[in-house]
Symmetry: D2
Subunit: 341 residues, 4 copies
């Protein structure tokens, strides 16, 4: 089958012919890919940023944001069957560790992460497990929802954690209205009555943000701290969701967070640097966020099916992967780029 | 009356003769001080670290950790009367702002902080408000409990926030077994079944920690990261309570925090410096902590009255304040130094 | 001044000439009433149902749902001033008990309840306290928002408690789309993405419910249990908000509550009767609800100001109070009846 | 093998010779029973109380509280191996439904309940699944811990839910100091600093309660309401844990619950009957409780291993099952009766 594989760091992935994956264990599932999202993390993988943490031997197939149709199932799989339309939780989990037994899929002590820890979904077929499959309405086109599998679940997970902090009268700053951010804004609008303030460098992204539910948009042209201060009556926001967390956003995000507030780190690449006196004198928090739970992905699919979260996507054939990567890197993608095999 | 006043930063406070405070508003209360705790924050105040945040004009009376007897009350005070034994919440609050109405005394938008924002309790009398007074059993000696007014409430507040994270089978690292830490250890032992691991540079402090309920003590001699890693099966702790947060503790504390864990900053002086990739890939949190609520102080007094929290104190007459500061600075105080007018 | 007073149980209240209230304590506030809501509780008071609990000597002025303009303030009041437009929390509180210090105004151990425990707001002026006043935009017409002071806060309080249970994919049944229910529906729509199913005996109330955000409406004509079962896939609802809780609704409400679900009792008059085996075998909860906190009233005013909660009201002059009571009793009021002095 | 089977309702179970269970699916596990607890639910089963809910065809083997050693495992089991000492969660679960994915094992939509829904553990061998096995220290004697598998997990689950309500200064009433209650008391003492008040009809049970951590014991001889009122300053308890919930306890339990408090139903047999006016005017809650999660069982085993929860048990050989049932029924068992094959 055709697959987009990374052969060397700092080089573009290549469209290879590789063998189709085969069923191994009784809970394995093979999915025919209908859409595979292109994520900033893919750029970071190509740059080698994840090598220290993952150490995955090259070459391997990229793609950790996948949806499609069940193609084959192991002997003990009863939750899905061949032909089902599915979206895939990014980390097939063991189901037996403390984290799994608490529903904290993203902290499974024995999970894999296809597309980071081994072959992913930028290919015709992907090997995953029954525990990763969320069954969808058969009418759903996988390419229309694939971006919810990682960008979506990650944004939703952060918003869901923030809900108790975002009662009416509070403000939530969203830094970055791209692939994740544009979903986060819609989740906020669907699940809270907080004032949504979106900060981005790109005027087009801000325009989209306004259409998706942002009450205020702020161009990150140097005056963003002052603008957010003014919009929050000088107090800062109760919650800041930072979908960028690099190139200065990580400093802005903390500074925009008000007394007793919480700064949610979702993007990555930069370094948080804060005096402990600042942390304690205002009792602010820094909240880590990674992917989300299986149930959160299922909940997000309800929002999508109800039309409360809609994706802005642009599709590319598998062979155009390099072009998709380049568009993302250059900030030319509004919403999410999707590869369709 | 006699009072310990700071005249210049970087110079020792001086025992002055000053006028007694007078009642102003209808909710004012004047307390005859029975005990005033000496806190590392006093050293930081002397060093000028709080000047930027507070800007309090010199000279003023130090002392933000106070207990005593009600000496005079304003016309509308009904909750305490002259002669009552009381411990004082450190921040008299307005009672009307959003934070006060939510019970979040430490975030009152119009509170004062006697000893930091104006005259404190290292004196014979202190002016405070009815809202700051927690009434005690008349048998209680103020000097025996004064340290609970700030060291106690701060440690208790952090522990109380951590309780939901500390179910049986989890580990809690306590960095620093001094004035706050030795109270925090007892609160942990009273309110959770977590494994308590205490880290300190001082063997005597560790000995005390062991007597107060620590299952494991670790000398911070350079091998502390490895020791905590071993004690937590390589996973790190679910919660780290850092009562130091300077001089390297702030790096240790983060490193000792396990996946999905929370690093509570309670001490201050250092700078947290963490790549956002580390925050998100492990979904760890950094949690700010400052003082606590009025109800938390009342709850802590229940623990004290039940004998579940006992203070290790050393008393000094008011005139010996410089000696008490010096002892604290040199690490010669086990538990807390208390000035008794 | 003119005031609507209850002289005897089971008899209509009477429009009397009574002396204006006078300021007593330093935190007292006198409000010129702009609107006073008529509540089913007023009918219950007239029937004597609250006599055992309250024992208020007759005659006294009814009206526990009030908004207006500040007319006079005590010497220590700084949070509002004469002329301010205000809505009143129904229970002026002491501000000093454990409940007040935790923000749980409705559990104040020393609160009054004007209109139940003494003279209320169906009059030209009302005596209350600074702690009860929520300041409003001066443009607001008190008669337009008065119903939020009790019907509103009570519905909002219940919904806010239910939010964590109402993630996407869940169902919330609302029993009763009257004074409280029609506000509850709007709060649910503003703050959750749950499926809202409204049950009422009155087709007009259901029509209004549909306009306010209910996805499904069910006529309570005997088939309501079957209808809710079908709408929830046979599983019952995660949350049932029962704004009636009498005349059989209290049995329906429990029966409509699914496994691990919560039945919120908000209305009253009936008796819950449930085998403990039913409670434990399904691990269902019964949740009491009364009024709400000061901050919740302030939050609700934000929703109102943002247009997310709009009241359906019908105004009557003070002299027409008996007519208003009769209309409510006969089910002729859509939304809320408001007396305007 | 030998097994205690129920042949007819209202008749004593019989020790039969039956075939050993066989492995079916790849995740099946067969456990050699080391101890099987005798529970009041067994008496209720014999009386036919569970027939309507379960409809299990007779005869079948009783016993839903089991521990032992792994005897055989299915082809896909990797979490335990033959010879492991294990305690069994009472409900083998599917691992794939919403409840399982949220860690709510007791609400699995496809679980079985050996001993209620089919053959249980009062036998030499039991068929269960890998998901039910909690691995223990090999030194543990199954008969010493078996009672934690159901009595323990159920008591622990209720206590864990109550922890946030039981801050220092609060009171917790425990009704019934028998099989579940004597574990609940120890969990309360280990995990909270609340005042523990135990109510029971049996003076011996109260004596045991005092030894296990109860601060106050109250004989249920008719004066129990007055006694609890006095012990709680007239206010009632913040939490009541009712391990009986029949024969009047269900009325006492509600009456002992203070304003804004929660009445936890854990036992069963009676009927709760409460006017909705009582529920709302005090904002009290009734909280259902059933079994607990897999992780809760694992947490409880930590408490047991740390010596914080110790069981009071009396062992009987399998053949003496009728005697054990009779002793339990007559109130002659302190703690828990355990059958040892």
């Amino acid at each position: 089958m055709k697959a987009v594989r990374l052969h060397e760091f700092h080089q573009q992935p290549v469209l290879d012919d590789v063998p189709e994956p085969q069923l191994g264990g009784p809970l394995d599932v093979i999915v025919r890919i209908g859409g595979a999202g292109v994520c900033r993390t893919d750029l970071h993988i190509i740059e080698g940023q994840w090598d220290a943490a993952m150490g995955t031997p090259l070459p391997y197939v990229l793609g950790h944001e996948n949806a499609g149709w069940v193609h084959a199932v192991g002997s003990a799989v009863s939750s899905v069957e061949v032909g089902d339309t599915v979206i895939l939780h990014p980390t097939p989990t063991c189901g037996l560790c403390r984290a799994c037994r608490a529903g904290q899929d993203m902290h499974c002590s024995a999970s894999s992460f296809p597309g980071l820890s081994g072959d992913g979904g930028m290919a015709e077929y992907l090997l995953t497990s029954a525990r990763a499959c969320v069954k969808l309405d058969p009418q759903t086109r996988p390419q229309d929802v694939a971006a919810l599998a990682d960008a979506g679940i990650t944004a939703y997970h952060a918003v869901r954690k923030a809900i108790p902090l975002l009662y009416p009268g509070t403000s939530c700053v969203v830094i970055g209205a791209g692939g994740l951010g544009h979903i986060g804004i819609q989740c906020l609008a669907a699940l809270t009555a907080a004032k949504i303030i979106v900060v981005d460098r790109n005027p087009d992204a801000l325009k989209l943000a306004g259409q998706l539910g942002a009450q205020h948009t702020v161009l990150a042209d140097g005056g963003q701290l002052a603008a957010v201060a003014e919009l929050t009556g000088g107090a800062g926001a109760e919650v800041v969701l930072d979908f960028v967390a690099e190139q200065g956003a990580e400093h802005d995000g903390w500074a925009m967070t008000g007394r007793a507030g919480s700064y949610f780190v979702i993007g990555y690449g930069g370094t948080v640097q804060v005096p402990t006196l600042d942390i304690i004198s205002t009792e602010r928090n820094i909240v880590g966020n990674i992917v989300g739970t299986y149930n959160e992905l299922a909940e997000l699919m309800v929002l999508a099916q109800d039309g409360k979260v809609t994706l802005h996507t642009r599709t590319y054939p598998l062979a155009a992967a390099p072009e998709a990567f380049a568009d993302l890197d250059a900030g030319r993608v509004r919403g999410r780029a999707i590869l369709v095999p």
